[in-house]
């Protein structure tokens, strides 16, 4: 049996998916990235045997050096994964630990356009983590608290640093922290809708990435987006699944190589 492995080495988690020849998932594992991503990735890769491996995520090039994997960007990996899981999907929203990606797909499922935040972590999982801490919540508590609010407070800054001081100011003014939490989610949702419009997103949207586990973000995106919003059950492993699918495809070997600098 030929086994294809996809590994998504992200800033917050490392995810691996093993597929058999038919594309059936043999196993899917999610681990925290921690402080030694290379070691964690190495442990994951050693869990099951595989014939081909494709790495994606920000650690993909280190994986190439460490265990000779081919590489694919998260953009293409998420497009492949989302489309295979949901053949009707026409766009993908992935809010991960340190970046947000919106991808529109063409009729054949290829990437038609994409947008990704460049320098900063505004509106990402990291942003929500910092804000949760400023409000005295855990990350898991932040979404439900927002859903509990009667209305959101307007947060004007999307910069993690400035928004944190804005939130601190609101807390000191005695504002209900549930309303602040809702305001934070609303500002991310508004920004996300802008990105989706810029890439020409329409039709069914797959909302993936760690932040798709946040019920308030899901509710707001679903409410604001014109088409259907699908949240995959295992929203964190869509990228690894896409990478594994790429490892299965005949063009994978050597197709996405970087120029060798050494």
């Amino acid at each position: 049996m030929t086994v294809a492995l996809g590994i998504d080495i992200g800033s917050r988690s490392i995810d691996a998916v093993w597929l058999d020849e038919d594309g059936t998932v043999l196993d899917a594992v999610v681990r925290d990235t921690g402080w030694e991503p290379a070691a964690v990735a190495g442990e994951l890769v050693a869990l099951h045997r595989f014939d081909r491996v494709v790495a994606t995520g920000y650690g993909r090039h280190h994986a190439r050096e460490a265990f000779g994997s081919d590489v694919l960007t998260e953009i293409t990996a998420y497009a492949l994964g989302a489309r295979a899981l949901f053949p009707d999907a026409r766009c993908v929203l992935d809010i991960g630990g340190q970046d947000t990606k919106v991808i529109s797909l063409n009729e054949r499922g290829g990437v038609a356009d994409f947008e990704m935040n460049d320098k900063c972590s505004a509106g990402t999982g990291k942003f929500l983590e910092v804000m949760a801490r400023a409000l005295g919540y855990t990350v898991e508590q932040l979404g439900p608290a927002a859903l509990d609010a009667d209305a959101g407070v307007r947060i004007s800054s999307m910069c993690t640093v400035f928004a944190e001081s804005e939130v601190t100011g609101l807390v000191h003014r005695g504002e209900d922290r549930r309303r602040i939490s809702l305001g934070l989610h609303e500002s991310i949702a508004t920004r996300t809708m802008g990105s989706l419009k810029r890439v020409g997103a329409r039709g069914p949207l797959v909302f993936a990435g760690g932040v798709a586990k946040n019920p308030a973000m899901v509710a707001l995106v679903t409410g604001a987006y014109a088409g259907d919003v699908i949240v995959p059950e295992e929203s964190q492993t869509v990228g690894a699944y896409g990478a594994a699918l790429h490892a299965r495809s005949p063009v994978a070997a050597g197709a996405s190589g970087r120029a060798d600098k050494e």
Binding site: Y58, V71, L72, T73, E74, I75, T76, D99, G110, V111, A112, D113, F114, M116, N117, D118, K119, S256, G257, R258, A259, K261, E262
Partner: protein, 427 residues
């Protein structure tokens, strides 16, 4: 360091450079050049000339310029492709582009300029304030110009540190603007005649026009070779060739670039390239890239793409247009110079449909798979005009990736991912 390098220390000290900081700069540039350039495979042999130029960029070339001054010639520093180098050359001057492609002495710069100033402006101020650019120190006069608001206000402060003469570049291209620009050319001639002590004549100007046109023609040849598939020269090497055009001795440079063009034409005949024929062909357009700013080209080519053209001031805006050579009077030649220069399409003009047309025509001619629009952060003309470029390119069926960045490496992870995803998308 070699003995030759040591010999330059006295020259640098005489120029008033901060020797310790300057050593650090040269070390950093050498390292960047090594990483970006020397690791490339199958480079044209003629590029060894540019390796030499870079290794001697603050050495031998500065010595040549100092010798030129000792013989009574002048050094004129410029920052912009709108400054007519033919006039400088005709008056026995050497035009040199000034340093502006790396973060330097930002801590000092930010004491006088806002932090959210574009990298190019912060950089040229930093090279002056940090006393590490021998070109600016050697220059007898620096020519500024009213292209963008950031540059024109920064020149007021720069002028306090260095004799600076400002040319007013109009911001529209109506007949009245040409009248203003033609007058500016006359005032520029008068200023340079005063500085050099020479008189501009039809003889010396027609020779200079011919020599500078020859330089641009050589670059046109080199760049025409990039239409081929597989591409016979990397984008990084072609970019470097244009970057050096602003510094180097004109006839020698022309000869060397023509030699490379010969070599590239031979490579095309053999079907030899520096990248596989199916490597995504990318064109770059936007803000200028001064040495040692090779960031975007390096990112694209490291990711497996190949840059086949630059619609940049350090690209086609520099070499695509020539001064008409048919005039036989001084006035006629100056008219032709005024016309050629005002015909360049920088985003500081409004409206600026010419640039959009240039970008689309070039993209089609080079058969590109995608366009990377590069703008320096806080460079309003290019960051805003990116929208119109993207719109026109999308209508023409050419995908566009918009990158707003600076000279730092802090965004390199995200930038690489975006560029790689773009290459995967256009493949």
């Amino acid at each position: 360091m070699s003995d030759t390098a040591t010999d330059y220390r006295q020259m640098w000290a005489d120029l008033g450079l901060n020797l310790e900081a300057h050593d650090m700069l040269l070390g950093a540039v050498g390292q960047m050049y090594g990483a970006a350039y020397m690791s490339q495979k199958d480079r044209p042999e003629g590029m060894s000339y540019f390796d030499f130029v870079i290794s001697e960029i603050h050495g031998l070339r500065i010595k040549e310029l100092r010798d030129h001054q000792a013989a009574g010639g002048k050094i004129i520093g410029t920052f912009c492709v709108y400054v007519p180098e033919e006039i400088i050359r005709a008056l026995g001057g050497q035009a040199v582009g000034l340093c502006a492609g790396a973060e330097w002495a930002y801590d000092e710069v930010e004491q006088i300029l806002p932090r959210n100033t574009c990298a190019l402006i912060k950089s040229f101020m930093g090279f002056k304030m940090g006393q590490v650019c021998p070109y600016v120190e050697a220059a007898d006069l620096v020519i500024g110009e009213t292209t963008c608001d950031g540059k024109k206000k920064a020149y007021e402060l720069f002028g306090e540190m260095k004799p600076t003469y400002i040319m007013e570049l109009p911001q529209m291209k109506r007949p009245d603007d040409m009248v203003l620009w033609r007058g500016e050319i006359d005032r520029f001639v008068a200023k340079l005649e005063e500085v050099t002590g020479h008189k501009l004549t039809a003889e010396n100007l027609s020779l200079a026009i011919k020599e500078v046109n020859d330089k641009r023609r050589a670059l046109q040849r080199l760049n025409a070779a990039r239409k081929a598939s597989p591409v016979p020269i990397s984008g990084k090497d072609a970019l470097l060739a244009v970057q050096v055009a602003f510094y180097d001795d004109v006839p020698r440079y022309t000869e060397m670039v023509n030699k490379i063009a010969d070599e590239l034409e031979a490579r095309i005949a053999e079907g030899k390239g520096v990248a596989p024929a199916d490597a995504p062909r990318i064109m770059v357009t936007g803000s200028p890239m001064s040495i040692p700013n090779w960031k975007v080209h390096d990112t694209i080519e490291t990711a497996g793409g190949i840059v086949v053209g630059e619609e940049l001031c350090t690209g086609s805006r520099y070499y695509a247009k020539l001064v008409d050579e048919s005039a036989d009077t001084l006035e006629g030649m100056l008219d032709d110079i005024a016309e050629k220069y005002l015909d360049i399409n920088c985003a500081c003009f409004t409206p600026n449909p010419g640039r959009i047309e240039d970008v689309i025509a070039m993209a089609k001619d080079l058969k590109v798979d995608g366009i990377l629009h590069y703008a320096l952060q806080f460079c309003a003309p290019y960051t805003i005009e990116a929208y119109s470029v993207e719109k026109a390119a999308t209508e023409a069926g050419i995908p566009v990736l918009r990158v707003d960045t600076d000279y730092s490496m802090e965004d390199i992870g995200q930038l690489s991912t975006r560029v790689e995803a773009f290459l995967e998308m256009v493949k």
